[in-house]
Amino acid sequence: MSNQKKRNFQIEAFKHKVVVDPKYADKTWKILEHAIHEIYNHNASGLSFEELYRNAYNMVLHKYGEKLYSGLVSTMTYHLQEMARSIEAAQGGLFLEELNRKWTDHNKALQMIRDILMYMDRTFIPSNHKTPVHELGLNLWRDNVIHSSKIQTRLLDTLLELILRERTGEVINRGLMRNIIKMLMDLGPSVYQEDFERPFLEVSADFYRAESQEFIDCCDCGDYLKKAERRLNEEIERVSHYLDAKSEAKITNVVEKEMIASHMLRLVHMDNSGLVKMLIFDRYEDLGRMYSLFRRVSNGLSTIRDVMTSHLRDTGKQLVTDPEKLKDPVEFVQCLLNEKDKYDKIISLAFSNDKTFQNALNSSFEFFINLNPRSPEFISLYVDEKLRKGLKGVSEEDVETILDKVMMLFRYLQEKDVFEKYYKQHLAKRLLSGKTVSDDAERSLIVKLKTECGYQFTSKLEGMFTDMKTSQDTMQGFYTAYSAELGDSPTLVVQVLTTGSWPTQPSMTCNLPAEMSALCEKFRSYYLGTHTGRRLSWQTNMGTADIKAVFGKAQKHELNVSTYQMCVLMLFNTADRLSYKEIEQATGIPSSELKRCLQSLACVKGKNVLRKEPMSKDIGEEDAFFVNDKFTSKFYKVKIGTVVAQKESEPEKQETRQRVEEDRKPQIEAAIVRIMKSRRVLDHNNIIAEVTKQLQSRFLANPGEIKKRIESLIERDFLERDEDNRKMYKYLA
């Protein structure tokens, strides 16, 4: 082959004819024009690509590019006008199909034309800043077909009409729709937007405005939301099927605005089906739907949240101020817990655990729990009840859950110190009467309180547990030391309680029976012998006793009574009849306590070991008492409770309140001093603000009280007022 090549070697210009013929260009163009006609007439099979390409190539090469280009424009325009006429002539439903068909034809033709004119596209067009062939073809289509006066509005109307029909439930040819919309998109974003999208959005807005008006007048809130959700999904689906993906945000925006935003308030406040009703009846599905729809519009969630908050506050306020509920503290707290559970569940199931909703829930609870000044007491009573018996037979995990819930309520309390006060009282009773069910549960709660409020808060509570433990050891020591001496005298169990750790109650000693007081003296000397420098005082009001008694026909019973009751009963060892006055004198029990203890001995059916004259429900000063010989009981052991008011009575409440106030004083003072020590100089308002902030974890300090404390500190020369500015305080080291 190489030989042959050598032989054929010649330098030869490309075989262009030298153009002398002025008709050359016309002739060449005629060939190309003819070819374009043939292409549009689906008659291209006989054409030689190479020939056409070469002709176009030569025209460009010989500077007839301009002629070629303008020839192309006019030929193509001619064909497109033909097509437009044929499309215009299409009847009714065939219009879109004809348009689609012609578009496909044009596209194919355009492709072929571009291929044969490629040399022009490559060289002539960029250097002369013309529109490339393909784009030119699209522009000509746009100007001659889509924007032809008879087609433009008809096309838009047809598209909108089809969409409307689809919205009303008809099935339309989505494939055709997709092609036509695709065509508009191919013609450039501005064509799609101007000739379709903008009017489409306007018509949609009108449609949904009218529809939502109709729905809202006849549907309840839940149904309306279902419909709105369905419409929204339909539009999203429509976009995915045949519209530009960029339209999704715009059309959903229209639906959101017309169907949700405009009717938001009305929906939420619908009388029998609005948000409040949904909350009351736990309509998780409806609530979830409302959440997901309202989230789409601005202020949507805050609307839901506000209504929920105000509803919560109202119901909560009713709950904490309902006198019926206040009768039973356990029930009261249980109601609060149930309410909390209910809303927790709603937020997790319907509001996707939205933090802002959780915060709203918390602030609402904080708001109404503190409306009732007795909440701290009741919460402590609830815990008391649970720790006494409520937790029997409950698994450890459940105990933890209950305690965690209680802690949650505790967190809402502003007056945590009041809770502490009550908790201490209740804990003391539990410990001393041996009523705690589970030591683990008790300790677990203490740990929780500690993590919540710090060491300081629980140190005294922990001290109580320590006392209980040491007392056991002390008693063991006592009995090892004195066992020989004691013989068969009554058994004494002493719990040594550290003053300060335990709720102090004014010591109301009574006269113990001789056997007992001798024993007590022995213990006192034993204890003081091992611990010098201490003082012991008897808290007879907190003790219990087990005594054996024989009734009428030699019936033996063991009675479990309080220390006071024991003192009373022991008197009957030496007397048959005793008047109230005599008992009071002999025992020295304060009269209110004595009445309560006599009441439980003589007036409770089945436990009336004493008989009283005259028979009545209440204890009078003139009553006389006898041993009830006819006393019977199925049980050998009889527990005689004292008639106790579980809740605090009004005066007791006042007293606790007062003690709390007293306790707060040093805390406020300490806070003031701490703050002033670091700041040296501070004005009044800032002190108040800082003190309140520091004490927030324990209680809400009253500004008036803070002011008093400041004054007191000034009196004691911790602080002084600034000479020039009376509002400023200075710290005096």
Binding site: K5, K15, F49, Y53, Y57, D115
Partner: protein
Amino acid sequence: MAEPSQSKIKKEEMVKLISAEGFEFVISKKAAMVSQTIRNMLTSPGSFAETEHGEVTFPEISTTILEKICQYFYWSLQYASGKETEFHIEPELTLELMMAANYLHT
């Protein structure tokens, strides 16, 4: 270029290029399509005569040049697949070859 080994390849995958003097070069479509122009001829929608018959006549390209061009097509495919060899061009062919390259958009 019409080597016997390539005659086994299916007819549809081959294309015939005809020079001004009527010499026929049968090469694989893949090689021919190195030229953008030939690619368009063979792939353009609708049916041009070239697509239907699988042959293209170049009345303005001499046999010598067309042969060199076909050699170049195959070389180019190899080069694109990583085999870096030199493609030798005789100086006397350069001008014509360049014009043909412009025409074929290669």
